[in-house]
Amino acid sequence: MTAGATPLVVTVGLAYFAVCAVIGVAAARRTRTPADFFAAGRGLGVVTLALSSMAATLSGFAFVGGPALVYRVGFGAVFLVLPASITATLTAWVLGRPLRALAVRHGVLTLPEALGTRYGSPRVHAASAIALLIAVVGYVATNLLALGLALDAIFGCGLAAGVALGTAATVAYTATGGILAGVWTDVFQGLLMALASAAVFVVAAGAGGGPAVLIRAIAAESPTWVGPWGTVGATTALSWFFVFGIGTLGQPHVLHKFFMMRDDRVLRWYPALMTGALGVTLLLYVGVGLAMRGLVALGLESAPVRPDDVTPIFLLRHVPPLLAALVFSGVAAAIMSTVNAFLNVGAAALTHDLPRAAGRPLARPLAAGRLATVALALAAAGVALWSDALVAFLAIFGWGLFASVFTPALAIGLHWPAASARAALASIGTGVTLTLGLESLAALRVAALPAGVPVAGISLVAATAVFLAVGALDARGEVTRV
């Protein structure tokens, strides 16, 4: 990322970390039980739930990678985030109350445990926890690398030091205060992200004479860029909409928040708040990509050497310095809130899910959870610094793996009494095998799917189809019961 290490950016960055530290210490003092550590003491109100879910959902991609993608492929890139208008209501309607009921009636703390409880099957519990761990390491490694780049841009400290500093800061409040510290800092981080994004969008909307001027200049160079599908075409854009829409029903770092609701009333206005927060925070994603592409087309800006420089260049050259400084911290905030959520669900899988699935719950789960958080973070940071190729590979399949593993067994299984543990295991196996297998074949250049057919889409469709087919076969004998 292009360096923005001016004194103002550094000062705002330090102030941001100071606020996170204060919140983390306060939360750590309140964390006394595993329910506090893994489910925030089940005390979240609607504002905290919505803002922390939004902050966990949006990683640094919304601020850096997303605008770069819009710059490259045009409006087709918006199909990655367009489902945000529906997904909060979708998840609340399909999973909100059932997951909350599982938490209250059975003391469930995690998604793998929800599956294990639903199907009465330790094997489903263990299989989903293992699949979750595979994706978590990749997700955290990718985000720690992005955090290192962001901190290097803020402080000019170098990538390795940035990764180390980011890992230490995130682990400090995640390991001590658990998800309670996470959701409290998420509220601060979410507000920072939303305010910074809205303000930058206002600047972007006025760049180069306004959107109409920019659009006409871009269309003269690339007519498909301004079309509804961008340069990627309808198939790819629609596949993104499918995977990033329906796939939200399987994202543990976000759905995990439903276990933390104070009561059922919290759910009522959650979709409205969450959708609004997502919409505002994603304004930067669209605005900066469009503005930079238009400015380049008008000859008012030089083309970035790397697409990932789109946001930093726009911030440093077109945005007031204080706002630019806030957005740089907002990028770090977006990444840290996502890392916190993943570290927490990963630590829960290691110290809560796998021991329970094996029938041997740990004697000191809180201490184990803290240790597991540190261990996972160190492993992911090691991967991030060790191999660019491995990070790039791990980054590909996170969302798709979660979507194919959890969506069928959880979203359908919680509403289909006849769905069996066998169906859940078959769909989890299908999701893991297809996602890892097809992505590996593509990475090794052995075989690849046709352009416009994403592995995540195929895996989600296949895993859901297998779940329905096996579930229907197993349910045959039970139809007369109805």
Binding site: I86, R97, G120, A212, P223, F242, L267, A272, A411, L414
Partner: protein, 143 residues
């Protein structure tokens, strides 16, 4: 009061819709490999039906209210219409006339998908009485 017969049959509608959506997605992906022109239409309809089917599944725990039915099938119909506008409008829209700074098909697709569901669905959810309904047993959600 939950209607056990209705609750027992509604998942079949939702599951059937999801199954049809998956079939359309698979046909669309298969056609993409052969470069067929209709793949976009299969994916558009499949995606729209998938959203409708999952939303229908979410409201199927008890007899759904009219608002909940509108949420499920209205979302599917709205998405299908928006995607159809995009597919029918071609990938090189004219820029002589713009709406909110965007070419007309692009504006219709984006603003249609981004704004209407973002306002309507949360309101329908809040008014649906979801929070006041008796808690289901997650192990036997429709029993």
């Amino acid at each position: 009061m939950d209607d056990p017969r209705r609750a027992a049959t509604t998942p079949r509608v939702a599951l059937g819709t999801i199954a049809v959506a998956l079939g359309l997605m698979l046909v669309g992906y298969g056609g993409q490999g052969r470069g067929a022109a209709w793949t976009g239409w299969c994916l558009a309809l499949g995606t729209a039906l998938a959203f409708g089917g999952f939303l229908r599944l979410g409201v199927a725990r008890r007899a759904p209210s009219p608002a909940e039915r509108v949420a499920a099938w209205g979302t599917a119909a709205w998405l299908a219409a928006a995607f159809a506008v995009g597919l029918a409008g071609g990938d090189r829209p004219a820029v002589a006339r713009l709406v909110l700074g965007l070419p007309v098909p692009t504006a219709l697709v984006f603003l249609g998908i981004a704004l209407v569901p973002a306002v309507a669905l949360p309101l329908l959810f809040a008014l649906s009485g979801e929070r006041a309904a008796p808690a289901a047993d997650p192990q036997h959600p429709e029993a």
